[in-house]
Amino acid sequence: MQAKRTTKLNIHVQGWLLALPAVILLASFTHIPAVVTVIDSFYSTPRGRVPSVFIGLDQYQAMLADPIFWRAFNNNLLYAVVTVPVAIALALGMALWVNGRIKGRTALRLAFFTPTILPMVAAANIWLFFYTSDYGLLNQIIRAFGFANVNWLGDPATALWSLMAVTIWKEAGFFMIFFLAALQQVPPDLYEAARMENAGRFTVFRRITWPLVMPTTLFVAINALINAFRIVDQVIAMTGGGPNNASTLLLFYIYQVAFSFWDSAYAAALSTVLLLVLGSVALAQFYLLDRKIHYR
């Protein structure tokens, strides 16, 4: 009896000891900063010799009146709403192609997946060249088809969409891998049976493939959603948020307010909003993903 209690106690102590390094690091770089950020958002920014004071919800009031914040927020929503479904649809299409008995499968898979390996900054610089007005490849192509030049990154109507294209280009290949894994786990006899019944391609997809990749789709969608709200690399490298904030996203605006305006308290308030957004995605994940996938 005595021995058993010691082991039990031992387990509690050992468990925490093993987790200790991770706990300390996670607390110092995730949990404590998150809490401090929220607290900071209720104070003013210290400037030079003027210390910070408690100002309640003033930062949030300023935020609601700040058109750039709303621009960034709405841009970010649009970014998520467009890139997530498109990247997922393309990824599924790619996976179906590459999973089938298509000629040059390896080369195709390579073409689709390579952008994923590229650092975003490198990809962004390549795409900058691709998008250049007048002599960029994209404009050379559309001119060859008789269309007018487009100043892709220099026109507020196209700047954000141009960034989205880069994101989709880079992410679709990554998501393809997840679908590929899911497809390979579909029992072949299901397809065999479908063929016996002379089912059409679309029917097979709708009745067999789609239900089976559904959990993967959800998993990928959640991850893509989280990523969509953390996008910043291509904004820094390609547009700097311009023209006239047309391509500003939340994290980029936070970076700008924090490290170029040095308004740390306002940056904290903006970060709090970002935390709230990510928190709601997390809740969505809990209710959608966990129920559908693990408890099915």
Binding site: A22, L25, F29, P33, G100, L108, P119, F129, A181, A267
Partner: protein, 272 residues
């Protein structure tokens, strides 16, 4: 029945190919620009002379060798530290139900959403207090306790039969010895997978190192490339493309060689 099927197959293959080509286009364009003299960067002539000059120019124009060294030290350092920290935590969480372990696990998973770059400002201040600004340790430290790593290894450890664990204990092995002798060897493929994911993530990471590093001695490749590309005096596309390809080169080549293993490991790491 036969003919339309065949026609359809050709159509599908054609579409797939067209799409693949489209996907590869920006890369081909970058390759073209990088391997030809500037004057041909935007003019496509088959007779255009090939050159390595752009790479040589980029290599000498910025301290890329140093950036490479920084990135390599950084990604290997982070990976090693992650292996140790995540293994320990994952083992405890996988094998024992200790006081508060459920809440702990839930709190760990928070980091899947709130990565250190979301809290840039606060984390920057913490590093400042620790005196770790502009150090490779500072770039890596916030990522060492990776929720993804703990989650992944915990799932793996859970699937390892408990009997093996007990057998080792019978022989008098301590917890650490058990992990070392039983769990590590069995989870080896997962470590490979996780290692690859970690390396490619940190090779490509940008915002956090951009903020934390100040000097050539600590700047990783991605930041170095951005610094190199944001010139005040106009851009030479050929050289920028060469630099962009160069910085991603090692990962790309590794990917080409180990393509199958690479994709497998992404699968393994992502799916469980």
């Amino acid at each position: 029945m036969r003919m339309p099927n065949r026609a359809r197959e050709i159509f599908v293959t054609g579409a797939a190919w067209a799409f693949g080509l489209l996907w590869a286009l920006p890369l081909f364009y970058a390759l073209w620009a990088a391997f030809h003299p500037s004057a041909y960067a935007t003019h496509f002539e088959l007779s255009a002379p090939l050159t390595l000059q752009n790479f040589i120019h980029a290599w000498h124009a910025a301290p890329f060798p140093r950036y490479f060294a920084n990135t390599i030290m950084l990604v290997l350092g982070i990976m090693a530290a992650q292996f140790v920290v995540c293994t320990l935590a994952a083992f405890g969480l996988a094998r024992w139900k200790f006081f508060g372990s459920d809440i702990l696990f839930a709190l760990i998973l928070v980091q899947l959403m709130v990565t250190p770059d979301v809290l840039v400002l606060e984390n920057y201040r913490s590093l400042q207090k620790l005196g770790l600004i502009d150090t490779l340790t500072g770039v890596g430290l916030p990522y060492v306790a990776s929720a993804f790593g703990i989650f992944l290894l915990r799932q793996t450890f859970k699937s390892i039969p408990k009997e093996l664990d007990d057998a080792a204990r019978m022989e008098g092995a301590s917890t650490l010895q058990t992990i070392w002798r039983v769990y590590l060897p069995l989870a080896k493929p997962i470590y490979v997978a996780y290692g690859l994911v970690s390396v490619s993530y940190h090779w490509n990471n940008f915002l956090w190192p951009l903020i934390v590093t100040n000097s050539v001695e600590t700047r990783p490749l991605t930041v170095g490339l951005q610094v190199f590309a944001s010139v005040d005096q106009g851009i030479d596309w050929s050289v920028i493309c060469a630099a962009a390809l160069m910085t991603s080169g090692p990962l790309m080549i590794a990917f080409l060689i180990f393509q199958r293993a690479f994709i497998q490991s992404f699968l393994r790491a992502g799916i469980r």
